[in-house]
C-alpha cells in the first residue's frame, strides 16, 4: 500500500475506533439484565475475542500455505508465509489475553466468579495455550528451515483440532455466556444501537489486527534480512567496518 494511502487509512482507523469508544459510552444503551455500566465492556471484549480467533485461523492458513502452497518440485518455501503465521500467532496471544482478562473481569462483576470453564472461556484458553506452545516450539529449534517447517506443521495441526473445541466443549457444560447475538433461534436480539456499536467495534478491531499484523511481518522481515546480511557479510568482509555489515542496517 502506498505510503499516503496507508497514512490516511491509519488516521481513519484512529477516528473510527475513537468514535467506537465514544459510542460505547454515550450512544449505546445499557443492556438489560447487566449490572450497572458493565455491559459496555461487551464492545471491547467481544471484538478482541473475534480478533484472537481470526489471528488463530490466519496463522493456520499461512502455515498451510507455507508448507504446501503452490511450489514446484524442489523450490524453496516462501519465508514470508512463515513470518505471517508467526506474527499472527503472536497477535493471537495478545488479543486472546486481553479478551480473557476483560471477560474474567466482566464475569466477576456479573456472577461473582472470574472463571467457571464456560465453553467459550475454555476454547480461548486452549487457543492461548496453543499459541504459547507454537512459540515454545520455535524457540526449541535452532535451524531456521526446520523451525519454520515444524512450527507450520504444528499450526496446521492446531487448525484441524480447533473446530472440536467449538462443537465439543459446549455440550459438556451449560454456558454462562449471554447469547444476545447468535442464539438457538438464529435471530439477532440485541438492541439496534448496541449492535451498531458492536459491529463497528468489530470492524475496527479487525482493521487494527491487520495493521498490527502488517507491522509485525515487516519487522520480522527487516530482522531476517539483517541476519542474512550479517551472515553473508562476515566471511567476505571480515573486519571491514565500511562493508555491508549489520551496522548499516541497524538503527
Amino acid at each position: 500500500m502506498k505510503k499516503r494511502t496507508a497514512v490516511f487509512a491509519s488516521w481513519l482507523l484512529w477516528l473510527w475506533l475513537a468514535a467506537v469508544i465514544v459510542g460505547a459510552f454515550e450512544y449505546a444503551p445499557l443492556a438489560a439484565k447487566f449490572i450497572g455500566q458493565s455491559s459496555r465492556i461487551l464492545f471491547f471484549h467481544v471484538p478482541m475475542a473475534w480478533a484472537a480467533f481470526t489471528a488463530f485461523i490466519t496463522a493456520g492458513v499461512y502455515s498451510v500455505r507455507y508448507l504446501f502452497g503452490g511450489r514446484s518440485q524442489g523450490s524453496p518455501r516462501d519465508p514470508r508465509h512463515d513470518r505471517a503465521a508467526r506474527a499472527a500467532i503472536e497477535l493471537g496471544l495478545l488479543f486472546g489475553v486481553l479478551a480473557t482478562v476483560t471477560g474474567a473481569v466482566w464475569s466477576r462483576i456479573m456472577w461473582g466468579a472470574y472463571w467457571n470453564w464456560d465453553p467459550r472461556q475454555t476454547s480461548i484458553v486452549m487457543a492461548l495455550i496453543f499459541n504459547g506452545a507454537y512459540l515454545a516450539l520455535r524457540d526449541a529449534v535452532e535451524d531456521a528451515e526446520k523451525r519454520a517447517r515444524l512450527a507450520a506443521a504444528y499450526a496446521a495441526l492446531g487448525l484441524v483440532v480447533t473446530p472440536f473445541f467449538f462443537f465439543v466443549v459446549p455440550r459438556i457444560t451449560f454456558s454462562l455466556h449471554p447469547e444476545p447475538v447468535i442464539n438457538a433461534r438464529g435471530r439477532v436480539e440485541m438492541d439496534p444501537r448496541m449492535l451498531q456499536v458492536l459491529l463497528a467495534s468489530g470492524a475496527g478491531f479487525m482493521a487494527l489486527f491487520f495493521w498490527l499484523h502488517d507491522l509485525r511481518k515487516r519487522v520480522l522481515a527487516v530482522a531476517d534480512r539483517a541476519l542474512e546480511a550479517a551472515a553473508a557479510g562476515a566471511p567476505t568482509h571480515a573486519a571491514d567496518p565500511v562493508s555491508t555489515s549489520p551496522r548499516t542496517v541497524s538503527q
Partner: protein, 48 residues
C-alpha cells in the same frame, strides 16, 4: 454531565490510551519504513 468518577472518565481514559497507542504504532511504522529503505539501498551497491 455527571460528577467526576462517572463513566465519562472511563471513556476519556480509553480515548487517551487509544490515541497514545495509535501514535506509537504510527511511529513504529515510520521506523520500519526507514529500516526497509536502508536495507534496499546497500543491496544495489553490494557486489554479487
Amino acid at each position: 454531565m455527571q460528577v467526576s468518577g462517572s463513566i465519562e472518565w472511563v471513556m476519556v481514559v480509553n480515548l487517551i490510551i487509544w490515541t497514545g497507542l495509535f501514535l506509537y504504532l504510527r511511529r513504529l511504522d515510520r521506523q520500519v519504513r526507514a529500516l526497509e529503505a536502508s536495507q534496499e539501498a546497500p543491496a544495489l551497491e553490494r557486489e554479487p
